[in-house]
């Protein structure tokens, strides 16, 4: 590959300065004249019929401009997965969890809106509730959604190969049960929406969202108006991690009230609402049986997974499907039997969260693999290397893995943590551990999964880029701009970007499935090339050379190998204009991942993603055996991201994943008691702070994927899969206790050490 000038460089995020100085404008920073403020009344009960809703008290409060309940809205269900729609913006007939939306009000001030909420009268008839997914599956359990009688709203049973036969041929069988907890995404910016209606009746929604185009569609459906009457604009977004791919009551209510009152309407959630009434990672109960051959080959695995879905589906079918298919990476596994259930309970709702169904099962696999290795007398690193998937190998579910740096990530992570010198050799209380994983770089084929881009070469030589990609803080806009700058041979500062406005920017599915760089990056690359070709044609004519001989670099266009034979970028534009070619110079790009056996996996096997990332994280921990506290001393995150378009931003993703993984392993849990969240605040929910962050080393393994722009694959979500099991495995190396339930709190460590003493 040619030497690159912008791609591969450690460029600060384009809006870093704006954000660091507090000037970036998030949804709640926006205000319009005459704006109304909205609030949502939520159910205090876990399961109840709404017998009567009386809004008159609220309507009488001075300043209140509207109050609605479920009966006042179009009866249109929504849900991010079309086949699993089960939710109304406001509850109709009954509430299903503490925090379910019952009514909404708007007023000229937040004070009035809050006061109005307290004046709403709701008569409930409390219903028996169920909080445990295993109980919820039993006959006679309370029915949460009338049409789903055993509360199993999504399930999967898939067999690859022949598991029974493979177990019969196995030399060793291992059976374990694992439990993972509910974890909240904790974006720093809470969910927010601001709707404005123009005189033509079109509603514009500014929203804290990861998916502007899907939001437009869902909003149009639930409001029962044409999509052309809805425009979604994404201002700066303060983190999403999957929590902002759903439509929420705030989006619907802001738009609904704006249309009704003809005034701008803003809804912003409290932190408590983010904890109780948005989404969380599904807690899972996982039974795992693994058959091993004497030589260390993983022959077969059998799973029974029960995911606690909470009161609604959100991404249920996709979540449980991903959990299944990504068992078969990053290790070769010919025989898999996976039985998975998504079960309704009267609790906060599960949804997509960084890794989407995979972190839980990956924890089970990686924790058990260490146990397997020990029992078989094999180094856990060697066991993983032996079974590591390799590029081009046939995959039982027909995933096409063109590049795979998994073995290299294993080796570099192990080297970085000092595996040889440390494993099993550190004093009691200190230990090292590692874990591997794989993740798709976007989804090949779901409904409207293409990305578009438009690149304009302006008369002053600057570049305008229009992309629908939704930067939610990860740096997508910076990365895509780097791709454009590289293609056009200009520095990054020459690019101006307009992103994620459904009326102005081309279609894009948004930020989920870790596909933004690959998908929107490719679209922008194609658009840049098209614009460049137009300019090249003019230059080629002037210089009497073939277009193919030209190259653009350092704001110059010249004959390859002879930089002196050419002209500046600006001169080229000038010549283009004076040669009576049509202005403006626009390049357009649309990208859809290649459709060779594409699939959503929901109905059939096939190649789910254009490319797959691979990663290993290694941890060194210190356990204070007197107090049970675990200090993560060091993490090495080694990631095959294909090609790091911006290594600094890849590191940002890896570092964030380490802290998130530590949270899942050691600190965080949304604790509920009879469906009520006991710790709905940053004070009581234990997300790790900078004080807990370990020393982090990031290693980028580059495999240059043929499908990715400049070879890039994902580096956002997959990173979150490996840190928790790496830490749990390091704890075993430190104190000889295998934990199968997350999080591993100091209290659990003390109990385990007590039991160990008794043995």
């Amino acid at each position: 590959m040619n030497k690159l000038d912008v791609v591969g460089k450690r460029e600060p995020m384009l809006d870093a300065w704006e954000k660091a100085t507090g000037r970036a404008r998030f949804t709640d920073d926006l205000a319009f004249p005459g704006m109304l403020y909205g609030k949502i009344l939520r159910s205090p009960l876990a399961h109840a019929k709404i017998l009567h809703l009386d809004l008159t008290g609220a309507e009488k409060v001075t300043g209140v401009k509207g109050a609605i309940g479920g009966e006042d809205i179009p009866k249109k269900k929504y849900g991010i997965v079309p086949m699993a729609k089960d939710e109304y913006a406001l509850a109709i007939g009954k509430v299903r969890y503490v925090g379910d939306e019952v009514a909404a009000v708007v007023a000229t001030s937040l004070d009035a809106a809050e006061e109005a909420l307290s004046k709403i009268q709701v008569d409930y008839e409390e219903l028996p509730a169920v909080f445990d997914p295993v109980e919820a599956m039993q006959p006679g359990a309370p029915v949460i959604h009338e049409e789903v009688h055993n509360n199993v709203s999504a399930s999967i049973r898939k067999e690859f190969g022949n598991v029974e036969k493979a177990f019969g041929e196995s030399d060793f069988l291992f059976e374990d049960t694992f439990e993972t907890q509910a974890v909240n995404h904790c974006p720093l910016e809470p969910q927010a929406a601001l709707a404005v209606v123009d005189p033509s009746g079109k509603v514009t929604l500014y929203a804290s969202t990861q998916i502007p185009f899907f939001l437009r569609r869902n909003l149009a459906t639930t409001l029962d108006i044409p999509e052309s009457k809805v425009r979604v604009i994404k201002p700066k977004v303060g983190g999403g991690f999957g929590q902002k791919i759903d439509l929420y009551a705030k989006d619907f209510c802001a738009a609904f009230f704006a249309m009704k009152t003809k005034k701008p309407v803003k809804f912003v959630y409290e932190r408590e609402e983010v904890f109780t009434s948005t989404r969380q990672r599904h807690p899972m109960h996982i039974q795992l049986k693994t058959g091993m051959r004497k030589d260390g080959t993983i022959l077969a695995q059998q799973f029974k997974v029960i995911a606690d879905g909470g009161a609604y589906n959100s991404t249920a079918p996709l979540m449980i499907t991903l959990a299944c298919y990504f068992i078969m990476l990053p290790y070769r596994l010919e025989n898999l039997l996976f039985e998975g259930y998504h079960v309704y309970t009267n609790k906060p709702v599960g949804g997509a969260m960084r890794g989407h169904g995979i972190p839980q099962v990956r924890f089970a696999v990686e924790a058990q693999l260490d146990h397997v290795a020990e029992k078989m007398g094999i180094d856990p690193l060697d066991l993983r290397l032996k079974n590591a998937f390799q590029a081009g190998a046939p995959h039982p579910a027909k995933l096409r893995v063109q590049t795979c740096g998994f073995s290299d990530t294993l080796k570099t992570a192990a080297k970085g943590i000092g595996w040889e010198e440390k494993r099993g050799k550190l004093p009691f209380g200190r230990g090292v551990g590692l874990a591997g994983a794989s993740f798709p770089s976007g989804v090949s084929n779901m409904s409207h999964i293409s990305s578009g881009a438009m690149v304009k070469i302006e008369r002053d030589g600057s570049i305008t880029l229009l992309t629908g990609a939704a930067d939610i803080g990860q740096g997508a806009e910076t990365v895509i701009s780097q791709i454009v700058a590289e293609e056009l041979g200009v520095p990054l500062e020459d690019i101006r970007i307009t992103a994620a406005d459904t009326e102005i920017t081309p279609l894009d599915p948004g930020t989920f499935g870790s596909g933004v760089t690959l998908r929107a990056g490719n679209a922008a690359k194609i658009a840049s090339q098209e614009a460049r070709e137009k300019l090249f044609e003019a230059v080629a004519e002037k210089m009497e050379v073939n277009v193919k001989e030209l190259e653009a670099r350092n704001r110059r266009i010249y004959v390859k190998g002879s930089p002196e034979r050419g002209m500046s970028f600006k001169e080229a534009i000038k010549f283009y204009q004076y040669s009576d070619r049509p202005m403006p110079i626009i390049g357009r790009g649309s990208y859809q991942p290649p459709a060779k056996e594409p699939t959503t996996l929901l109905k059939e096997d096939g190649n789910f993603s254009p490319a797959y990332s691979f990663m290993t994280q290694a941890a060194e921990v210190e356990v204070d055996t007197k107090t049970g506290k675990v200090k993560v001393l060091k993490m090495v995150a080694s990631h095959d991201c294909g090609k790091a378009i911006n290594p600094m931003l890849v590191e940002g993703q890896l570092e964030g994943s380490v802290v998130g993984g530590m949270g899942q392993a050691l600190y965080e849990e949304v604790i509920t008691e009879k469906g009520r969240v006991l710790n709905p605040s940053f004070l009581d929910y234990g997300i790790p702070t900078a004080m807990e962050a370990p020393s982090i080393t990031s290693v980028e393994v580059e495999t240059n994927d043929p499908e990715g722009p400049f070879g890039a694959k994902e580096s956002g979500e997959g990173t979150q899969l490996a840190p928790a099991p790496a830490i749990i495995n390091a704890i075993y190396d430190a104190i000889g206790v295998r934990f199968k339930t997350l999080p591993v709190t100091p209290e659990k460590i003390l109990q385990a050490l007590d039991e160990k003493k008794k043995e």
Partner: protein, 328 residues
């Protein structure tokens, strides 16, 4: 969440503030740093008629030596304490503890007086109006039943302050000003150990300053919490030890936070420690005694048995630290 409506006063003198407070004590609150009060007001567990801002009164934020005694004005912030040269030199333990309260932003806003007078906490009480809406209000919030023990007439909320245990161990006193003038009482006596009304202040009284006698012996503070920032203690311990001139312990103070309705002194453990030498057996016995002596309730997400266990572990660690010739 928004604040409820209230009348707002900015007295210019402490006397003026005392008069305003005494005029309607039950429906008035004092505002200093606001880090505790305003959250409770947003949660609607406190809905005062009037808020009296003490920050507008001059000369209440100071740190000064008066003869051998250290005097700290009630409005001095926790950040003032941690950054004060005088305190760093004479009472380094105090500047250390001030950095353990909440997080930096809270230390910058929060005052010593406010920290000492902070409300007791409970998982049923320190929640939003929405959260509490499903049940009748708890006894502390004006209802009949305490949800912790499901009984009427008694509140089991927990005192979780960081500064009080250490200041009690240092035998600090507080000067309070009321309608009948000033009085000085030991800080320990400021706490009523009644969860519903945790302070023993009389009608109209305001904490004015904290008086700390000259340092003697050695003091340690160990705070046990999940994360090294933001959180209240799961349990914390102040240990103060003075030798009797020989190798034996002359005086010992053991004070816990977050295990009772006020700071909890374990007198039995103290007596066991006094005139003993700090051998391993004593440490074991004293730690077990202290763990037995406290009666934490289930007022947070942590179980009483875990708090009890950690109390013993903290005390053991603190005592072992004193075994070292030059403890930290």
């Amino acid at each position: 969440m928004r604040l409820p409506k209230f009348e707002y006063l900015e007295p210019k003198t402490l006397q003026e503030a005392v008069r305003a407070l005494a005029s309607d004590a039950k429906r008035s609150v004092l505002l200093a740093g606001g880090t505790d009060l305003l959250v409770n007001m947003k949660h609607r567990v406190i809905e005062p008629k009037q808020v009296i801002n003490l920050k507008t009164i001059p000369k209440l934020a100071y740190v000064k030596n008066v003869k051998d005694e250290l005097r700290i004005g009630a409005l001095a912030t926790l950040h003032d304490l941690s950054s004060s040269r005088v305190i760093q030199e004479r009472f380094p333990i105090l500047s250390h503890v001030a950095t353990k309260v909440g997080a930096y932003a809270l230390q910058a806003m929060g005052t010593l007086g406010g920290n000492l007078c902070q409300g007791n906490r409970c998982r049923f009480y320190n929640q939003s109006a929405f959260w509490r809406g499903a049940k009748p209000p708890c006894y502390k919030a004006g209802g009949k039943l305490c949800h912790v023990v499901r009984k009427p007439g008694e509140c089991h909320s927990t005192y979780c302050g960081d500064m009080a245990p250490v200041l009690i161990a240092l035998e600090a006193q507080v000067r309070v000003v009321g309608p009948n003038g000033e009085r000085v009482l030991s800080l320990s006596k400021l706490y009523s150990r009644d969860g519903k009304r945790p302070l023993s202040l009389r009608k109209g009284e305001i904490l004015k300053e904290v008086l700390i006698p000259p340092p003697s012996g050695k003091t340690l503070y160990l705070k046990w919490r999940r994360r090294e920032s933001i959180e209240f203690p799961i349990v914390s311990l102040a240990l103060h030890i003075e030798k009797d001139g020989t190798e034996k312990i002359g005086k010992a103070r053991i004070i816990f936070s977050a295990v009772g309705s006020g700071p909890v002194e374990t007198i039995g453990a103290e007596e066991m420690l006094e005139s003993s030498s700090l051998d391993n057996r004593t440490i074991e016995r004293v730690s077990n005694q202290a763990a037995k002596e406290i009666s934490p309730m289930r007022t947070s997400i942590y179980s009483p048995s875990y708090k009890r266990r950690m109390a013993g572990i903290l005390l053991r660690q603190a005592l072992e630290n004193f075994q070292i010739p030059n403890p930290k």
